[in-house]
């Protein structure tokens, strides 16, 4: 019998890619129609929250951001994933991030990787050597990329040093910024700062921040962050989403740490840029951001089996993952596909070879975001603290306040 499944997804490229998967799926499953309900990124979470909370049967499949999984699962919004679905071919860290309380609630669709973009011309103009990285016109095998990532990775100290030299001021106004991060103050982007220095953001129980977020490691990381804005003044304050890439594309920004998703946009500009691995702190360990989108099944859905089947197709089948990857060009979690990236000659050239950097990081240095039902609270407290720090609030105050806020809010979830 004919069935229609509804899936909420994010508007834009993700919807296009999902549509490609849906089209492929439909060819094999004529009885099932899948209807995508897309929402703008900025409102997706709010709408999803409202609709899931109202036990809306109009949603079968849910596009889930990794860190929200625990929150959704803990409130019973998602059905446990059918154990019959094999996750053996997926990157284990990604599979794990789909679990809450030992149960699998969602399957990873793709992964993310962060890199350091740099403007070669600006480095040249400033007379400094850019970091080792992948650049236009050069090719790189997976082995070469592995070497680059394991031994030629810049430290944040090097970044700061270069950024100061790259920053150009005219009449007290900055005309060229040395460095910025793409996601200003976001946990996803900055988590490696503290973790590189040895401390996770919160404790393993998911509700304790004291001793973690205000640890020495995080204090040092936050001080570095503060210096970027307040001491060295190499970074622009309060950039919105996408504005770092715009600045970089205008040649007004020498370096920024951002996702691989910026490649198509930046390749379309005439900036001559290179891509280096995500930096780490000197003396610390190499840690990179990871984690992206998952698919889950709405617990209120009347079409559990069909929804599970599509989720499985999307994440664990050759055809499904390929359709997704071909359309969106995001780092996969499906190992056969990762192998293709590593080995296929299609990925030798820049900027395709940047994915190989992602492959290395996702297998070696990636640290998933903390799993906690209070992730929203954590993210908010964290962002508030780091934005405040950038705006000049003393590091210790900001961190202490973040700890207090997170713990009191998390306590309400933990009770």
């Amino acid at each position: 019998q004919d069935k229609t499944l509804n899936m909420i997804v994010i508007e834009g490229g993700d919807t296009t890619a999902m549509q490609a998967v849906v089209d492929a799926y439909k060819a094999d499953h004529p009885g099932i129609a899948i209807n995508l309900q897309s929402y703008p990124f900025a409102q997706f979470f709010q709408v999803a929250e409202l609709r899931l909370r109202s036990a809306d049967t109009g949603i079968d499949l849910v596009y889930v951001d990794a860190p929200l999984l625990a929150s959704y699962a803990s409130r019973g919004f998602l059905s446990p994933i059918d154990p019959a679905i094999s996750t053996g071919e997926l990157v284990p860290a990604a599979v794990q991030a789909g679990q809450y309380d030992g149960t699998q609630y969602a399957l990873p669709i793709n992964n993310s990787a962060q890199v350091l973009y740099f403007n070669k011309a600006l480095f040249e103009a400033a007379g400094i050597t850019p970091p080792a990285g992948l650049t236009k016109g050069e090719t790189a095998t997976q082995a070469e990329v592995d070497t680059l990532a394991s031994s030629e990775r810049w430290t944040w100290e090097q970044v700061a040093d270069a950024a100061q030299k790259l920053t150009v001021k005219d009449n007290g106004r900055t005309t060229t910024y040395g460095f910025t991060v793409e996601q200003f103050g976001e946990l996803y982007q900055l988590q490696p700062f503290g973790e590189s220095l040895g401390s996770p953001v919160i404790g393993p129980d998911g509700y304790t921040a004291k001793g973690y977020l205000d640890s020495e490691a995080w204090t040092k990381a936050a001080t570095f962050w503060s210096d970027l804005y307040n001491t060295w003044a190499v970074s622009p304050k309060s950039l919105g989403y996408g504005e770092a890439a715009s600045l970089f594309g205008n040649g007004q920004l020498a370096m920024f740490a951002g996702g691989t998703w910026n490649l198509p946009i930046l390749s379309a500009t005439d900036i001559d840029f290179g891509v280096a691995p995500y930096p780490y702190f000197e003396g610390g360990s190499v840690v990179t951001p990871t984690g992206s989108w998952y698919v889950g099944v709405n617990a209120a859905s009347a079409n559990q089996a069909e929804a599970m089947d599509f989720a499985s197709y999307l994440t664990t089948s050759d055809a499904g993952t390929k359709a997704w990857f071909d359309s969106l060009q995001q780092l996969p979690t499906y190992k056969p596909l990762l192998d293709t990236i590593s080995t296929s000659a299609d990925y030798d050239a820049f900027p395709q070879n940047v994915f190989r950097l992602g492959v290395y990081d996702s297998l070696n240095t990636a640290v998933a975001r903390p799993v906690t039902a209070a992730y929203g609270q954590l993210q908010d407290a964290f962002r508030t603290a780091f934005v405040d720090i950038a705006n000049g609030v003393p590091v210790a105050d900001a961190l202490a306040s973040a700890v207090q806020k997170f713990e009191s809010a998390a306590a309400r979830v933990a009770q």
């Binding site: 509804n6 909420i8 994010i10 508007e11 834009g12 490229g13 993700d14 209807n35 309900q37 897309s38 929402y39 703008p40 990124f41 900025a42 409102q43 709010q46 709408v47 409202l50 609709r51 909370r53 109202s54 809306d56 109009g58 949603i59 005219d170 106004r173 900055t174 005309t175 622009p236 919105g240 989403y241 996408g242 504005e243 890439a245 715009s246 600045l247 594309g249 205008n250 007004q252 996702g259 998703w261 910026n262 946009i265 500009t269």
Partner: protein
């Protein structure tokens, strides 16, 4: 206050007056001007002259109308038409429903009037976010999801508009209604043919209130139109701010169009604001 014709000595104050008006107008216009300029630039060049600011930021260089062609290729024409439909239907239905209620409150004394009126006034002091979820459930139960009824019907009754009509209908001299009563005119016609024409500025204000409410509606259409077949402007605009990048010039192009439409609709009505009718039929 009477208009005074300019005398030589008054040229200075005349100039000062224009200067003051210009300054205020400048503050009002600047953001929109900047949006217009930005909408006429290629997406990549939006921030070119802004960080740091140079006067060139206020000129559309390099110039392109690609944003405008772009938004219409994306089907923004339809989205604007959708929004107009929703806004106009809400406006007209809202004028009728709220006008009738305001009229009843202004015209009659009845038991419980104060309480009902207070409840209505209170109803607009409720944050929409607080009721979004239960309201969504109500809409769902009515089976209105993905139906434009969900966009329109809940927004028709508006406590603010009732209050507005009540305030102004109360100021219309009672004599008109009494004269019409003696003439055997029905209450409906008294409302439509006497009170409404006499309170035109108020009706326009109320229409504007209802129109703008829908014109700016965002969260609600987003929730109740899950299949996104029928999009309204604010929802369509949000799509320009994507996960990984923002299409600035198109965003501004749409902003400019959405800003100019209500103003264009309001312009011909401006004259009702500077010529009052009140009391013109009374006394010698």
């Amino acid at each position: 206050m009477t208009a005074r014709t300019a005398k030589p000595g008054k040229v200075l104050s005349f100039g000062l007056k224009h200067l003051a008006y210009l300054l205020i107008a400048f503050i009002f216009v600047l953001p929109l001007w900047w949006a217009i300029v930005s909408s006429l630039r290629p997406n990549g060049a939006i921030f070119a002259d802004i960080f740091p600011f140079t006067p060139k930021a206020l000129l559309p260089t390099p110039f392109t109308t690609e944003a405008y062609t772009g938004i219409f290729e994306r089907g923004f024409g339809l989205i604007i038409a959708n929004t107009m439909l929703v806004a106009f239907v809400t406006m007209i239905a809202g004028l009728i429903v709220n006008g009738a209620a305001g009229f009843a409150f202004a015209m009659f004394d009845f038991k419980g009037k104060k309480i009902v009126l207070s409840a209505i006034i209170i109803s607009f002091m409720l944050p929409f976010e607080a009721i979004a979820l239960p309201l969504y459930t109500v809409t769902q139960q009515l089976g209105w999801l993905d139906n434009i009824a969900a966009l329109i019907v809940p927004s028709i009754a508006n406590g603010l508009a009732v209050f507005l009509f009540y305030q102004f209908f109360s100021q219309v001299p009672k004599d008109y209604a009494e004269a019409a009563r003696l003439d055997g005119v029905s209450w409906l016609n008294i409302l439509l043919r006497i009170y409404v024409p006499l309170s035109l500025p108020t009706c326009i204000s109320a229409a504007l209130l209802l129109f703008i409410f829908q014109w700016e509606a965002f969260l609600w259409p987003l929730l109740t139109m899950p299949s996104q077949q029928f999009k309204v402007i604010q929802v369509g605009m949000a799509a320009f701010q994507q996960q990984y990048q923002t299409i600035w010039n198109q965003l501004f192009a749409v902003s400019v169009i959405t800003a100019l439409i209500p103003i264009a609709l309001l312009l011909p009505l401006q004259r009702y604001y500077v010529q009052g009718l009140a009391g013109a039929g009374i006394k010698g």
